[in-house]
Point group: C2
């Protein structure tokens, strides 16, 4: 059986079990409830051992016969019904917006709408995810896709019954667009030693044009800014399943470093997803605050703004930035008060990043944790 | 000779000619100048015959020995020199940010910087483009890439000396990522009848999952919002070179309609690029304001905001929205004061857009100009 068929069956079973549990409660004349892990900051923490931002074990019960619970209870079941009957049963995926439009209606005989704002169905979706201990993609719900990929790797991707074999070493100057859901993807053949992630499209283009991935046997990925779920998940799968080291490139500023940390450890808002979106073995290649001095880029720096300083002070306090090396880097940023883009390396020469900076950093294992 | 080698030679020649002209002026002890078409709104208009927003023929001369011209004169030549010696000579491309970092330096013996802010080099780049009557991609300057593509078409893309043959019918759920520069792409084999452009990633994903392009012999493109230069140019090439009809899908609101008009006619800001980025034969498939009534989507509409009304009144006045059909649509929007997303069709059923809405509109040739 194909992996993705398996996934559909697994999720269908989870929803069925939830339904059966509710049915039993109703038969016993109990007040039906769904048990949902709490997602507020009081139940979120950084797990040192797992190297991940995680959800604690506090749970809340949402009852049908409770004036303040009933509406959300109904919405959660509407989501479950849409996922099972409309999506999984037909092997279709949809966006959370589609779901909103599909399930929003006026309840017959009343003036009450099932859903007023999309925010309500969005929250009900996350409720269902955590209640079932599953994740959005297993519910066949898509997010906005972002990111591109190229490298010496052949993958198999499936669109319903159509299976495509895609050679990512033959994607020209564009690359392969990473989809929102990557659960169905299978890594068929790879001849690579590591994965290089660039926060920016411009760096992907530079490295692709310089054939960096061809010369250095790697997979090249750009997240095109803050990483989307599909890009994060495929990075994790490359790390866990193919045991490939992952090195990350962002600009030298608190926002870039935070983008890195989200890919590595997860985020507070999606703490319940860190297990499948986090990438704890990821390493930070650059650009660090020390790199600016080491590579003599002072003239190509940008003066830090108030908001950069404020962000640096915030991330300095996050548990997952507490390692000595990161504290030193953040302190250096706060002392020098300048930031630098990766493109600052172009002030030396256009191919310096491909021919000198990255190879040197990798050879010397000059990474941050 | 390959098309792209040809392009390099052509641009090198244009820059050389500019240099020779200046050299002659210097030898004659004239005040050297560059003649640059004016880009302000006074020199921009809508050309009815060409169906394009165009630059007029007003030109300005920029002199070396003129206190208010000298700095920009120098910057324009810095750009020309970088493009010729660093990029074209090595068959490399760069971003406008790279160029900024590469050419920004303190002039020896002075405290004067060649470039203070990137905005200065950006303006100098456009000056050079219009002075040479060429365009950014011919100068080997990349923009931020955006958009994805799939369909029954085989293309050839080139990264320096590496040529990839890419079958866009085998791109799985992701699609091929459209690069920033598409001049080097060759359409090798196509078995398609038209091109369908969706403004939104979500619609691309829906149509790709429903195998719309496979069943209907078309190329499917998403611009993922306002279309990037690469996406616009490839649309034009599909229209002009392969003579394919292009049908466009956006949300039913003034912003969506404006995105369509930019792809079709060009924009005021890039009037000098309409000739190569515009797509005058493009047609608007939907969603129109009339569609909302015709498809009974009133319940899935969104109330128009102040800013939407304002935008509608603006575009109503644009010459390229003056056709009767568009005026009626904008009036309907102003009367009903609601807008609708393409996903509103999901309130019927998820595949309604693929199975009913689009096929019906195409069959009935229910397009807007």
């Amino acid at each position: 059986m194909k992996k993705s068929e398996n996934n559909v069956k697994k999720t269908e079973k989870l929803i069925e079990e939830l339904g059966l549990k509710l049915e039993k409660q109703i038969e016993k004349n109990d007040n039906p409830f769904i048990e949902i892990p709490i997602r507020g900051s009081a139940n979120v923490s950084f797990d040192e051992a797992l190297q991940r931002i995680v959800l604690g074990d506090k749970k809340a019960r949402r009852f049908l016969f409770n004036v303040s619970h009933a509406r959300r209870f109904m919405q959660t079941l509407l989501v479950a019904s849409y996922v099972k009957k409309d999506l999984l049963a037909n092997d279709l995926t949809a966006t959370i917006r589609d779901l909103y439009y599909a399930k929003k209606h006026t309840i017959p005989g009343t003036k009450e709408d099932t859903i007023d704002e999309q925010n309500e169905s969005n929250l009900a979706i996350v409720d269902l995810e955590v209640a079932l201990e599953t994740f959005r993609e297993m519910l066949h719900l898509r997010a906005e896709p972002k990111g591109r990929m190229a490298g010496k790797i052949i993958i198999e991707d499936r669109v319903r019954d159509k299976v495509d074999t895609i050679d990512l070493s033959k994607m020209g100057s564009g690359g392969w667009a990473i989809p929102s859901i990557v659960e169905q993807i299978e890594f068929k053949k790879s001849d690579v030693e590591f994965v290089l992630v660039a926060e920016k499209n411009a760096i992907f283009d530079r490295l692709n044009e310089d054939k960096y991935w061809e010369k250095n046997n790697c997979v090249l990925i750009t997240t095109a800014g803050q990483a989307a779920r599909g890009a994060r998940r495929i990075l994790q799968r490359l790390s866990e399943e193919l045991k490939l080291p992952i090195y990350t490139l962002t600009d030298s500023d608190p926002y870039g470093w935070y983008i890195y940390s989200t890919m590595k450890y997860g985020s507070m808002a999606l703490a319940h997803e860190s297990e499948r979106l986090g990438c704890p073995k990821m390493k930070f290649l650059g650009m660090s605050a020390s790199d600016i001095e080491h590579y003599n880029l002072q003239k190509a720096t940008i003066k830090a703004k108030e908001v950069d300083i404020k962000r640096a002070l915030e991330i300095k306090n996050y548990s997952w930035f507490k390692q000595k090396r990161w504290q030193e880097e953040i302190d250096k940023f706060l002392e020098k008060k300048y930031k630098a883009e990766l493109q600052a390396l172009s002030s030396k020469n256009l191919q310096y990043i491909s021919n000198t900076y990255i190879p040197e950093k990798i050879k010397n294992e000059d990474f941050l944790p």
